[in-house]
Structures are given as structure tokens and as C-alpha cells.
């Protein structure tokens, strides 16, 4: 593994994002902090409603600051030219410069992210010309080169096609091409392979790894799939109910996780290497309703180790387990003995 | 109170219904009673004046609400009774039924409603029943088209497939699943159809093809008051305003519910 340079290129500090939904205040993201270094892939793992997508959008400066929406904290970015800025403090005009050039994002909904009435070529060229000072012809050549690099065989045909003519895997590659057109330092991928077939997913993951190796790009990979995390990330942040519940290196994730939610999640996954017919260790209950938060630890209603009077009353803070490993649980030390 | 389109529309429609129901109480005079006091201007006895036969204009406007509502709602019911089954069958069963239905719908929609109503009314003669039937007949394709489109949308849901898997017949599924899920939209369209029926029937009356006298009918009142606007503008303005208000009321109610 490459030694990680000390200075992070992105630092998220105490990020909190809230919305009002149906008259109630919902804390979608609560006090989230993490760092990202160059060339590193960080996975944000969690289920629906845990706040991982909102975190990704916040880093892109895509949180709509309308009435009822609040965002606080800092998102400190070191840009390509060395300048530092705080995404949350910037206005939309300055952010437009950042987006695509320094930070880019690809989404799960590749169907709607591409404009159906413009050809693929038009869209890639448009993206390229937004970020670089080149003419139409050079942009077209660059677009072709990008597509070839992303493993698309018939680049000319692809450039002239429209989004509905392409398969899911192709569309995702096109989206990646558009995202990379500005040569960003950080790529945020929000569930990019969830809607794809597993063999296509394997292709896309390999592609992203190849791009990373070539350009030392950093990636924030948002997913609910722990298996994909194992393939692609060096560090992982597990989120639950809007909070970070555990941050740890990926090799630790699969044997030395400390937070009961993380461990329960791993145990409940169906696995190819397990003997069939055995009962899965399912987590009882359902993910929490963010509009009506409970006291104490957000996971306690579903936790096998929850202690009444403690876990349901006092909200746990982040504890350091080891270097690079933090956990939000009252009982993690005791539970260490209970493997 | 929020003055939304829906609340304004509801207010107008509910007031009109109240007026129609309470007409005998609200109207100062018998609307068909003629007198020698013809073409009088507004006075204490006759708040809006009298018409060319000495009848009280206000009473005629009040009682005219009944006529308008009867035609409007009646014709719309006919349109729904004719159009909804066609739309449901075409939308759910598809195939040849749908092809035939679409041809018919397209044909009728292409014809201008007022002209068609006019021609048929001339042929069959104007009367309350005929007017209701003719207008209903003119409007059924619009209802059918809407119902068909909505049925297409609902048909794609998995719960429809589940009902098929349970062994449900097409009739069962349409009755139990399709209709309840499209009802709200059809009801909204119903209100709009009522407004269309009222204005069209008023137009027909204005052209002399409305309900024959002495039944008080707003369109005819506008027509007969037309020549005498200089003497008493209320002759036309009162019924005219009533038409506008009621049409607007139903339209607001319908379009805001969609």
C-alpha cells in the first residue's frame, strides 16, 4: 500500500445538514468529520436514510440552501492550484468553478443524469469546454480519447448515440467520462454500481481503480454494499441515522469492527462461502425515523448489547480504538472480549 | 382562510347549490309570473328590475341556477357514463377494443363541440332532456380519453399483476383496483366538464336553441336582454355574470384538484 501523505486534500469538520420535511426538522447529517488524502479511496457505508448521499452532495456544494435547510461546519478543500477554500462558505458562482475541476460526482441514477435530447458527444464536449480552454474540434478528440480510455470499443458510434440507446454500463462510463473531463482531484461516486448487473459492476470497479492508479485521483465511494467496499476502498466510514458510527481501515472492517451495528451488518449478509440453510443473523427492527429521533444511541433499539439506562439515555461520543479507528459506542471495550 | 383556487371554486359551487336548493325561499317572486310592469329599472320591489314580460329578473336569475346546474351536472353524468367504460375497457384490455375506441375518440374530439351540439339540437329539437343528452354525447370522448390514459398508468403497477396472479378477472380488477385509483382525477375532470356544459348550453340558448320558455334559463335571458341593454343592462348582465361565475367556479374546482 502506498504511504499516505500527511496533508489531507479534503477535510470535513463537524458537518451537519438539516431539512424540514412535512413540518418537522430532520437532521440528515449530524456532526460528521473525516479526512481524505490524495490517491486514497474512502468508502461511506450505510443504508438508506443514514445521510451518506447528503454528505456527498454537501461536499459538492449541492445542498440547496433554501428555507428550512441548514448546513453548518466546514468542508475544507485544497484545490489543484494549492488554494484552500471552505465549500460551505462559498457562493454558487465560486462553487461552479470548483465543481468538475476539483471535485466531481457520479450518481446512481444514470438514466436521468444524462440529457436524453442531446447526443453523448455533445454532452461530453460541453463538459470539456466548460473546464478547459479548447476549441470544439480538440474537445471532440479529447472526448473520443476519454471514451477509449474508459473501455468503450466503438467510440465514434458512442459519441453519436443518445442516452436511451446505450446500456446501463455504457451510460455509467459516459457519466464517468463527463465527470473526469475537468481532471478533478476528487471523485465522489454515489452508489454508481447499485443499479447495474454484477458483471458490469465488476467492470466499472476495475475501471475506477485503473483511473485512480493512473492519475492519483482520490475517491469517495458511497455505497451500502460491503463487498464492494472490500474491493475498492482503503478506509471506510460507517454511517447510521446521520452520524458517523465507526471509521476504520478496510482490512480491519472484516474482522475487527467494534461498533455493534457494523458487526451485525456483516453478520447479516448472505455470503457465498457460508453453508446454505443456516439462518442469517438478521438485525431486528428497521432503520430509524430521522424526524423523531430517540434519546441515547440511535442504534440501541436494534442492538443486542444495549444496556437499559445507558444506551437509551446517553448519546455516545466518538472514541479512539487505535490509530485511524474511531467508534461511537458506549460498550465497545467490554464487547471486545465477546468476539 | 387561504384564498386558494380550490377554495374560491368550492365557495362558488357550494353557493350555487345552496341558491338552487333554496330558490323558493330566496327568490322574491315567482319567476314565471308576468305582470304589466315590464321593463322597469331596479326598484325596491324588483331589485334588478323586470324583463319584457314583467317578470322579476332577480327571481329568474335565482331559479335559473337550477336549470344551469341540472344541465351541467346532468350532461357531465351522461358523459362519464358513456366515456368512462369506454376508457376503462380501451385502457385495460387494449388490443382491438383500444384501436376502435381511439378511432372513435379521435373522430369526435376533432369535431368542434359547440357546432356539433348545435347541429344535433336543431335536428332533435331543444328541451331539457335533449340538451342534457346532446351535451353529454359531445363531451364523452374527452372523458374517455382521460380515463384511458389514467388506466394505462395504473395498469403498469405491480398490484395489478398481483391481482391477476390471484385469479382476478378483468372486470374485478377494473372495479377493485383501476377505478378507485383513477377516481380522483376523473372527479376533477367532471367539474371541468360541468363548466363546459354550462357555457355551451348557455351559448346554445343564446343562439335560440335553449330550453323553451317559460323555464328561466340564463342564456335565453342574455339573448332577450341583448336588444334592450340601454333600458336596463341588468337584463343581460345579471344572467351573464351568473354564467361566468358558475363556469369559473366549476373550472377552478376541477383544475385545482388535478
Amino acid at each position: 500500500m502506498t504511504p499516505v501523505p500527511p496533508e489531507p486534500i479534503l477535510e470535513v469538520k463537524n458537518l451537519s445538514v438539516g431539512f424540514t420535511a412535512q413540518g418537522r426538522a430532520v437532521a440528515a447529517v449530524k456532526d460528521v468529520s473525516f479526512k481524505l488524502h490524495q490517491g486514497e479511496t474512502l468508502a461511506i457505508v450505510g443504508e438508506s436514510g443514514c445521510g451518506k448521499s447528503t454528505t456527498g452532495l454537501a461536499i459538492m456544494g449541492l445542498i440547496d440552501r433554501g428555507p428550512g435547510t441548514s448546513a453548518s461546519g466546514e468542508i475544507n478543500l485544497v484545490r489543484k492550484n494549492g488554494a484552500r477554500c471552505d465549500i460551505l462558505a462559498m457562493d454558487d458562482r465560486s462553487l461552479r468553478n470548483v465543481r468538475g475541476n476539483d471535485v466531481a460526482m457520479i450518481f446512481q441514477e444514470h438514466m436521468s443524469a444524462l440529457n436524453p435530447v442531446h447526443s453523448i458527444g455533445t454532452q461530453i464536449v460541453e463538459a470539456l469546454r466548460q473546464h478547459r480552454d479548447i476549441d470544439a474540434r480538440a474537445a471532440r478528440d479529447k472526448a473520443r480519447a476519454l471514451l477509449a480510455e474508459l473501455g468503450i470499443a466503438n467510440t465514434n458510434q458512442c459519441l453519436e448515440s443518445y442516452s436511451h440507446q446505450l446500456s446501463g454500463g455504457m451510460r455509467q462510463r459516459v457519466m464517468i467520462a463527463i465527470a473526469l473531463s475537468g481532471d478533478p482531484r476528487i471523485l465522489i461516486a454515489d452508489e454508481p454500481t447499485t443499479a447495474l448487473d454484477v458483471t458490469i459492476q465488476a467492470q466499472i470497479i476495475e475501471l475506477l481503480q485503473h483511473i485512480q492508479q493512473r492519475s492519483r485521483m482520490s475517491m469517495i465511494f458511497i455505497t451500502h454494499n460491503l463487498g464492494v467496499v472490500a474491493e475498492i476502498a482503503q478506509r471506510a466510514i460507517v454511517m447510521y441515522a446521520g452520524e458517523v458510527t465507526e471509521t476504520l481501515p478496510v482490512p480491519m472492517l472484516f474482522g475487527h469492527a467494534r461498533m455493534p451495528y457494523t458487526r451485525a451488518l456483516l453478520r447479516s449478509l448472505p455470503r457465498l462461502d457460508r453453508k446454505g440453510g443456516t439462518k442469517l443473523a438478521a438485525i431486528p427492527g428497521a432503520p430509524p425515523n430521522l424526524g423523531s429521533p430517540l434519546g441515547g444511541c440511535a442504534f440501541h433499539p436494534r442492538c443486542a448489547y444495549a444496556l437499559q439506562g445507558w444506551c437509551d439515555a446517553e448519546h455516545p461520543l466518538l472514541d479512539t480504538v487505535a490509530n485511524g479507528h474511531v467508534v461511537r459506542c458506549h460498550r465497545w471495550r467490554e464487547l471486545e472480549a465477546v468476539a | 382562510m387561504r384564498l386558494s383556487r380550490k377554495s374560491i371554486g368550492s365557495l362558488i359551487v357550494l353557493s350555487a347549490c345552496a341558491v338552487a336548493l333554496l330558490a323558493p325561499v330566496l327568490a322574491p317572486d315567482d319567476p314565471t309570473k308576468s305582470s304589466v310592469f315590464f321593463l322597469h329599472g331596479p326598484s325596491r320591489l324588483h331589485l334588478l328590475g323586470t324583463d319584457e314580460l314583467g317578470r322579476d329578473i332577480l327571481s329568474r336569475v335565482i331559479y335559473g341556477t337550477r336549470t344551469s346546474l341540472a344541465i351541467g351536472v346532468g350532461a357531465s353524468l351522461v358523459a362519464v357514463i358513456l366515456g368512462a367504460p369506454v376508457g376503462l375497457a380501451a385502457g385495460y384490455l387494449g388490443g382491438r377494443i383500444d384501436i376502435v375506441a381511439v378511432q372513435m375518440i379521435d373522430l369526435f374530439i376533432a369535431l368542434p363541440g359547440l357546432v356539433l351540439a348545435l347541429i344535433i339540437t336543431v335536428m332533435v329539437g331543444p328541451s331539457l332532456q335533449n340538451l342534457v343528452l346532446v351535451l353529454g354525447f359531445v363531451m364523452w370522448p374527452v372523458v374517455a380519453r382521460l380515463v384511458r390514459g389514467q388506466t394505462f398508468a395504473v395498469r403498469e403497477h405491480a398490484y395489478i399483476e398481483a391481482a391477476v396472479a390471484a385469479g382476478g378477472s378483468s372486470f374485478w380488477i377494473i372495479r377493485r383496483h383501476v377505478w378507485p385509483n383513477i377516481f380522483r382525477i376523473v372527479a376533477a375532470q367532471f367539474a371541468i366538464t360541468v363548466s363546459f356544459a354550462i357555457i355551451t348550453s348557455a351559448s346554445l340558448s343564446f343562439l335560440g336553441l335553449g330550453i323553451p320558455p317559460p323555464v328561466p334559463d340564463w342564456g335565453s335571458m342574455v339573448r332577450s336582454g341583448f336588444d334592450m341593454l340601454a333600458i336596463n343592462p341588468a337584463l343581460s348582465l345579471a344572467p351573464g355574470s351568473a354564467i361566468a361565475a358558475l363556469v369559473l367556479g366549476f373550472y377552478l374546482l376541477g383544475s385545482s384538484s388535478q
Binding site: 454484477v198 476495475e206 472490500a230 428497521a286 | 398481483a162
Partner: protein, 341 residues
């Protein structure tokens, strides 16, 4: 179990869709959604159908229940060819075979109460009259899927995804079927809920003696539920084998690729086979073996003739003409992770 006659027998099932086009509309070709598929399911057995998009797996499930009419082929349920049933017989057949749908949000009518949703098959089939008996049956069914009686009068939008899926299962069970076709029943659910539903299905299979056709793209889930697995590609069966056999000892290149593409938490970074390209156009499939265009072991002979599904072991069938690819390989065994968690 081996000697029992099959509950469901599918032979040569085909579903081709016409492709129309041109100024004068005429049939220009066919999309071969299901292209000659044969398999069997025994009583109380779960057969998993694994495949990706375009594999035809959902279409097969629907053909088996006659929610889609097959173009040709035979489907025998308890010995009778169900493609030839009349309306009345078809309705009776629906008591024996039911479906669980993928979308927990679209598969429940938003205007109905949960009780009505669960009881609908009973109502349609005329198996119970409205009244206390019906109510009792509904509560019983809800209890089977671990939902309390308080849910009976609620509406779908008040329930979570996992709860809705339970309602769907209760509905399918209401008429007492022998076969359940489950079309991606857990794919739309959160990861932590999936395990709950998988466990429920497993328990129901044991308790009620249900046979199941479990359709999914997720082979890991199938490992837990299925007794045998069939892998599908472009409308055809590539391989059928008992679950453990298929996973540990695949004998078809597509199965091998499919297994290796599944991201495994905790496994050593194994050599992964990444397929190149996309799935071919189902309206214009490759000649011979449809997988040959992406197969790393393809030979010239693979293009000549469509390979038959041939038996290569105990209950193990493959549609690959080559015997030499896997013979000497031992399948990559997973590092024993059970102890570490």
C-alpha cells in the same frame, strides 16, 4: 427427494416478442426473451434462477404462472400442461401457484387496507365469505409473516419496505399454494432488512413445505435459500446444479464469471474474471453458444451449434461443450471467515 416426481416441469419454453418496424409495419425480427428453457422443480424444493439483465429470468417466472403467455413449450404442474388450461381451470391453478413481487412499494394497492390486500386472493377465488371467518384468516396470515393484528386496518403507505414485503408474502400464502415464484423479493430492500425476509422465506419453506422458484441476480442470497441453482444468460440455461456444487465447482464459463464478479467481503483479493463488453442484442443473438462472444475459453466450434444442456455429474448439467476447462481446477475456496466474525 430424488425419487419424487417433479411438481413443476418446464420443457423447451420460449417467449419471443415480435419486433415491428418500417414504414409498412411488419414483423422484422424477434426479441428472444426466453429461448428454449427446460428445468424442473420438485415438491418442497427451492430452485434458484440466477441471471443478470436480459437473461429472461423474470419472464420465465411469469410464464410459469401464465402471467405472460409463452410462445411455445410445455409447462407441467403436477402433471398437467398448464398452457392448455381453460379459464376456470386456470383460476383453480392460481390457488396452487402464487407470486411474490420485487417492488414492495408498487405491489400493494394504495387505496386498500392491508386486510383487503391479504385477503384478495381468497375473495377472488371465492374461498371465504366476508365476515369474522375472513378476518380470522387475515390475522392468521399476518401472524405467519410476523405482523401483528394492528396492521390489518392500516394502509400500505404507513408500512416500511420490509413490512410491505411481508404483506406481499402473506397475500401469496393466503390460498395455500404449493409453489411460490419469488421475483427478486429482497432486491429493493435495505441490506439489514434483507436478512429478515430471507429468514422468513426459509422458515416458511420448512414449515409449510413450499416449493419455490427463487429468481434473483444475487447469488449470495441464493446460497442460503436454494437447493439447486440454474444460471441463465440471454434467455437460455447455462448450468444447473445443486447449490453447493455450483458455487464450489462451477462447470460453465458464465457461472464462473458470475461467481467471481460478486464482491466478497473478507475474501483474499482473488483473481477476478472481468467480462469484456456488454450483453448481446437479444433480437440478434450470437450463433451457437450465446455466451461465446464474452467467453475467454471460446473455440471456433462454439459458434457452430447451440450446445445442449448435458449431464456431467449427479444432478449437474452444463451447456458448455468443453470438458477440459474446469476438470483439473479446484474451485477457489473461501478463506474460513466464519471464525473471525
Amino acid at each position: 427427494m430424488i425419487s419424487e416426481p417433479p411438481l413443476l416441469e418446464v420443457s423447451g419454453l420460449r417467449k419471443w416478442y415480435d419486433v415491428r418496424g418500417g414504414v409498412i409495419p411488419r414483423v422484422r425480427g424477434h426479441v428472444r426473451a426466453v429461448d428454449g428453457v427446460s428445468f424442473a422443480v420438485r415438491p418442497r424444493e427451492v430452485l434458484g434462477i440466477a441471471g443478470e439483465s436480459g437473461s429472461g429470468k423474470s419472464t420465465v417466472g411469469r410464464c410459469v404462472l401464465r402471467l405472460i403467455e409463452p410462445s411455445s413449450g410445455e409447462i407441467r404442474f403436477a402433471g398437467r400442461d398448464i398452457t392448455r388450461l381453460n379459464r376456470r381451470e386456470l383460476r383453480l391453478f392460481r390457488r396452487k401457484a402464487q407470486m411474490i413481487f420485487q417492488d414492495p412499494y408498487g405491489s400493494l394497492d394504495p387505496k386498500m387496507t392491508i386486510a383487503d390486500i391479504v385477503a384478495e386472493p381468497l375473495d377472488v377465488q371465492g374461498m371465504v365469505r366476508r365476515g369474522p371467518e375472513r378476518r380470522e384468516r387475515v390475522l392468521q396470515l399476518l401472524d405467519t409473516v410476523a405482523l401483528g393484528p394492528e396492521y390489518a386496518d392500516r394502509r400500505a403507505h404507513e408500512l416500511s419496505g420490509g413490512q410491505r414485503q411481508r404483506v406481499g408474502i402473506a397475500r401469496a400464502l393466503s390460498v395455500g399454494p404449493e409453489l411460490l415464484v419469488a421475483d427478486e423479493p429482497v432486491s429493493a430492500l435495505d441490506v439489514s432488512i434483507q436478512a429478515q425476509i430471507v429468514n422468513l422465506l426459509e422458515e416458511l419453506k420448512q414449515r409449510l413445505g413450499l416449493a419455490m422458484l427463487f429468481i434473483s441476480h444475487d447469488i449470495a442470497v441464493m446460497n442460503h435459500l436454494a437447493d439447486r441453482i440454474a444460471t441463465f444468460y440471454l434467455g437460455r440455461v447455462m448450468e444447473i446444479a445443486p447449490t453447493r456444487q455450483l458455487i464450489d465447482n462451477p462447470r460453465h464459463p458464465y457461472t464462473e464469471a458470475l461467481l467471481s464478479a460478486v464482491p466478497h467481503p473478507g475474501l483474499e483479493r482473488r483473481k477476478r474474471i472481468v467480462l469484456t463488453g456488454d450483453v448481446p442484442n437479444p433480437a440478434d443473438p450470437p450463433s451457437g453458444c450465446v455466451f461465446r462472444t464474452r467467453c475467454r475459453y471460446a473455440l471456433a466450434a462454439c459458434a457452430a451449434v447451440r450446445p445442449p444442456l448435458r449431464q456431467i455429474g449427479d444432478e449437474h448439467y452444463t451447456a458448455c461443450i468443453r470438458d477440459d476447462i474446469f476438470a483439473s481446477q479446484t474451485a477457489p475456496k473461501a478463506v474460513a471467515m466464519a471464525g473471525l466474525l
